[in-house]
């Protein structure tokens, strides 16, 4: 029983699993009554944008929901999948991108893919659950630094560097562009500055920052003017893009 356990009977459907009905936007119905809604990550208002609704409907009519069948590797690739990847990579300032069916699972899998047992992960203590789950899959060592605390990050990088020298592995630092609970930006620029002292790659989860942050909306790395310092960029389609899925670039 969670922290809302004492209210469990009424919590379901009210505090947990509430049903918001009507067209997606600032004004929706909750339990039959009009509400001013401040709970959706529909940052750009694209969810119900007429051009988006039209494109969704047209594509569904033309292709149905089944196409393409199979995994990309075997039989499920298409020109449109590749075009979208190319556009995304270009937009966020990276060489290439890869589509992910789900953001959460995608991040878990990215971490699993980037490291082996000899590598060391250094990550922010307030990282999203998908990062924590990804780190759990890691067979090697991991060090957590205090939230957005660069001195703490430096200390953990010192430990990680000593360890990586022994194992012959490399270091992966993971943080977020925008922390969704507090609204604080990850200190990307300061972390990148640590590359002068330590050798590591930086992976950022910019689920909230993609489409909202930076001059062109490319993300928090653009906002902090450190696009090249971010080695691996992760953005989701579930927030500003008002869809589902994600990409890594």
């Amino acid at each position: 029983m969670g922290p809302l356990g004492q209210h469990q009977k009424m919590a379901h459907g009210y505090f947990a699993f509430p049903k918001l009905e009507g067209e997606i936007g600032p004004h929706m119905k909750f339990r039959g009554k009009d509400h001013l809604v401040w709970s959706l990550n529909n940052y750009l208002g694209l969810a119900n944008h007429p051009e988006v609704r039209e494109a969704d409907a047209k594509a569904a009519a033309e292709f149905g929901l089944a196409y393409p069948m199979g995994a990309r590797m075997m039989s499920g690739n298409s020109n449109y999948h590749e075009m979208l990847e190319k556009d995304l990579a270009e937009f966020v300032g990276k060489d290439d991108a890869f589509l992910l069916n789900y953001g959460y699972q995608g991040m878990v899998s990215i971490i699993d893919t980037l490291v082996d047992r000899n590598d060391v992960i250094v990550y922010d203590a307030e990282s999203h659950a998908c990062i924590i789950d990804g780190v759990r899959l890691h067979m090697g060592k991991r060090f957590v630094y205090q939230h957005n605390d660069i001195e703490s990050c430096r200390k953990q990088l010192e430990r990680a560097t000593r360890l990586a020298e022994q194992t012959g592995g490399a270091i992966l630092v993971i943080t977020e562009g925008v922390f969704g609970m507090s609204g604080a930006q990850g200190k990307l620029k300061e972390i990148i500055a640590l590359k002068d002292e330590f050798k590591f790659r930086l992976l950022i989860d910019d689920a909230h920052g993609f489409g909202t942050m930076g001059k062109t909306g490319a993300g928090t790395h653009e906002a902090q003017d450190c696009i090249d310092g971010v080695d691996i960029y992760f953005g989701t389609f579930a927030k500003s893009m008002a869809g589902i899925g994600a990409f890594v670039a």
């Binding site: 922290p3 809302l4 004492q6 009424m10 919590a11 936007g25 339990r31 509400h35 001013l36 809604v37 401040w38 959706l40 529909n42 940052y43 750009l44 208002g45 694209l46 988006v52 494109a55 969704d56 047209k58 033309e62 292709f63 149905g64 929901l65 089944a66 196409y67 393409p68 069948m69 199979g70 995994a71 990309r72 690739n77 298409s78 449109y80 999948h81 075009m83 979208l84 556009d87 937009f91 890869f98 589509l99 899998s109 699993d112 893919t113 925008v178 969704g180 609970m181 507090s182 604080a184 909230h208 920052g209 489409g211 909202t212 942050m213 062109t216 909306g217 389609f237 893009m241 008002a242």
Partner: protein, 142 residues
């Protein structure tokens, strides 16, 4: 990446729909400008009224208030039932005991009028919270 290598591709309508979204995101900067107009008005308004927004430096707007769990549920219900405002509530263990966070997510689709209504409602419920009004409330079955 194993979870993608052995998983079915994203359906075509999703891919084409995402291409359209990305195109709008790139070609309609006014969407992002409106998001920031709303976020700035909301955060300035809340800070002017003495609300604690902690470390946010983005559009995500957390309002931190002191109170116990029953007060957190009561204030959320009051906002929804009597002010028609729906926002998310965050309590222990995500944040420390004795604190609650009402999280407001502004969007480009909101208006400055929505912001004003919300600022006024937050001032009222924060006043009630301070006066101990919600201490007596238990979250009755709704």
């Amino acid at each position: 990446m194993r979870s993608q290598t052995f998983a079915k591709a994203l359906p075509m309508p999703m891919v084409l729909g995402l291409k359209k979204r990305l195109e709008l995101l790139k070609t309609k900067p006014e969407l992002r400008e409106n998001l920031w107009k709303i976020a700035t008005a909301l955060q300035n308004g809340l800070r002017d009224r003495g609300f604690d927004l902690r470390s946010t430096n983005t559009m995500v707007t957390p309002v931190f208030l002191e109170g116990e769990l029953n007060e957190a549920t009561a204030i959320t219900m009051d906002l929804r039932e009597n002010y028609g405002i729906f926002c998310s509530i965050v309590v222990y263990p995500v944040i420390p005991k004795g604190l609650m966070e009402l999280r407001i997510i502004p969007t480009a689709a909101h208006t400055l009028e929505d912001v004003q209504v919300t600022l006024d409602a937050f001032s009222e419920v924060a006043g009630k919270l301070k006066s101990g009004f919600y201490k007596e409330q238990s979250a009755v079955a709704v």
